[in-house]
């Protein structure tokens, strides 16, 4: 049983309890929870992913606007399939939605992924995996606005931190999303939470073995692969507690990570 409280601050003592989270989520499978993967597409025929992708969409520019069409293009880069593989392994019954914003000719900049995020929020996918970001300052304000809209719509956006020593958006926004950076841990359940740091969550992201287009597997390193670990954990939590708000989900992650940390220090 995990007691979910506010973020504890020793200056003011412990906050009041929000809710009790039993351990059933640990054996959940993400059933009934929609998870959007905004990325390079997904190889839906991969054995680990086959049957789990409910729909695939692809960005296309039409009259200077980005529109989304049903897609059968799969994934020519591998990144989206790798993220989907991680989610499928932890939350095998989660309903995946592929939103392909990378890979199309001339569509590589922030506009496509901003449009993809907007599309995901409009469709009210409960969890949105965003292993992407942009460092371009012109996207700060529109992304901030969009992330607030996602928060208000109850969509839980999980974003990967920049792998380069430079802040990227939206991962540096603190309040409206959950940002993740890689750790060398290997157990997906043993994620960490560093309250007060710009990127709060840590999850496995070094040498992660996951699905790759064509039916194979790769060992991959990057914050991109830490992000879907947390997206999948959230899918497990939401299966057992569908009514959780983004704020409550973050609080639950914090409480679980505290327990993980205590477990580590007593072991």
């Amino acid at each position: 049983m995990t007691t979910v409280t506010g973020f504890e601050d020793t200056r003011f003592g412990s906050q009041s309890t929000f809710f009790q989270l039993d351990d059933q989520w640990r054996s959940a499978t993400g059933k009934g929870v929609s998870v959007a993967v905004i990325d390079s597409g997904i190889d839906t025929s991969h054995p680990e992913i086959d049957g789990r992708v409910r729909a695939s969409f692809e960005a296309r520019v039409d009259n200077k606007k980005v529109v989304f069409d049903p897609s059968e293009a799969g994934d020519s880069a591998g990144h989206g399939t790798a993220c989907a593989g991680i989610i499928s392994r932890i939350a095998p019954d989660a309903e995946l939605y592929s939103i392909k914003v990378l890979g199309a000719g001339g569509l590589g900049d922030g506009h496509a992924f901003l449009a993809g995020l907007e599309w995901a929020v409009k469709n009210r996918y409960r969890v949105i995996n965003l292993s992407l970001g942009t460092t371009k300052p012109q996207f700060f304000a529109p992304l901030h606005d969009l992330l607030d809209r996602a928060y208000q719509a109850g969509c839980i956006v999980v974003a990967a931190a920049n792998n380069l020593p430079q802040p990227s958006f939206p991962s540096v926004f603190s309040s409206s999303l959950i940002s993740v950076i890689k750790s060398e841990d290997t157990d997906p359940m043993k994620f960490g939470f560093h309250y007060g740091q710009v990127i709060e969550l840590t999850a496995p992201g070094v040498n992660v073995r996951t699905a790759w287009p064509g039916g194979g597997y790769r060992n991959l390193t990057g914050n991109s692969f830490a992000c879907p670990h947390i997206a999948a954990i959230i899918a497990l939590l939401l299966e057992m507690h569908p009514g959780l708000t983004p704020f409550q989900v973050k609080s639950a992650l914090y409480a679980i990570a505290q327990e993980n940390q205590e477990g580590k220090s007593t072991n």
């Binding site: 199309a104 000719g105 970001g133 792998n163 890689k182 040498n207 790769r218």
Partner: protein, 257 residues
């Protein structure tokens, strides 16, 4: 230009052409410098094979600009279609990626390996950024020595990002020089009759003894700069002395002596 009475404009244009030509002369060995930097960085990464890919057109395609290692000659000028493979992802996302076990199925790297006879096993790919734009991709392939190899580490990802910054500056200089050269070549070879006057004028500028002398001086400077620190320091001292002499002479002339 012929028939143009505006001599001020003519002089300014001459100066632009001189600057472009000198710029081209000075940056010509940039690909060699990129390869030297690539070799040095690959050594610190514990890898023998590395390559620099740059944007090719506006559709997200890439082409190999520089490469070191076993199959470097075969890679140069090879193209990577938009969004394909790890390099395509790194270009479009602006994020680095470390992959082990690259070979295997029918992937883009399997195609490249088939063409080159090489065996790509692992890779670290990181974006080349200049002014917040991703202009290309830097890749390190496999490790030195016989396999099995340790995968590239997060610390090496950070190190590669630093190397990428230095290489990106050189790539940007190369791209600028290439743009000027291509524009100039197009102007000189274009059959458009309307530009005949401009071509004649440009040829005239380049044929002057003064312009040729300036190019020789630029070449000399480039040669000296490549000789070593001591030569560069001596060269700078001498040139500073020449400048001071020139300044004092013009001041003297101004006083009417």
């Amino acid at each position: 230009m012929p028939g143009n009475k505006n001599t001020d404009l003519d002089a300014k244009l001459r100066r632009v052409i001189e600057t472009i030509d000198i710029g081209n002369l000075l940056v010509e060995p940039l690909t060699r410098s990129i390869e030297q930097l690539l070799s040095a960085s690959a050594a610190t990464m514990g890898s023998n094979d590395a390559s620099v890919l740059i944007r090719d057109g506006d559709e997200g395609d890439l082409r190999f600009l520089a490469a070191i290692g076993e199959v470097a000659d075969q890679l140069r000028d090879l193209k990577v279609p938009a969004g394909k493979g790890i390099a395509g992802f790194v270009l479009s996302s602006g994020q680095p990626m470390v992959v082990s076990d690259v070979g295997g199925e029918q992937t883009f790297y399997a195609e490249v390996d088939k063409a080159t006879g090489y065996s790509t096993q692992m890779m670290l790919a990181t974006p080349l950024r200049y002014n917040d734009e991703v202009i290309g991709v830097l890749e390190y392939i496999n490790r030195s020595g016989p396999p099995p190899w340790e995968p590239f580490t997060p610390a090496e990802m950070d190190k590669a990002a630093l190397c990428a910054d230095a290489i990106a500056s050189l790539v940007n200089a190369y791209e600028s020089a290439k743009l000027f050269r291509d524009l100039s070549e197009r102007l000189m070879s274009d059959g458009d009759e309307e530009l005949a006057d401009a071509r004649a004028w440009l040829r005239g500028v380049r044929d002057t003894a003064e312009h040729k002398e300036m190019m020789e001086l630029a070449l000399l400077l480039r040669e000296l700069a490549s000789r070593g620190d001591a030569e560069r320091a001596m060269c700078r001292e001498l040139l500073d002395a020449v400048l001071r002499f020139s300044d004092s002479r013009s001041e003297t002339s101004f006083l009417g002596y």
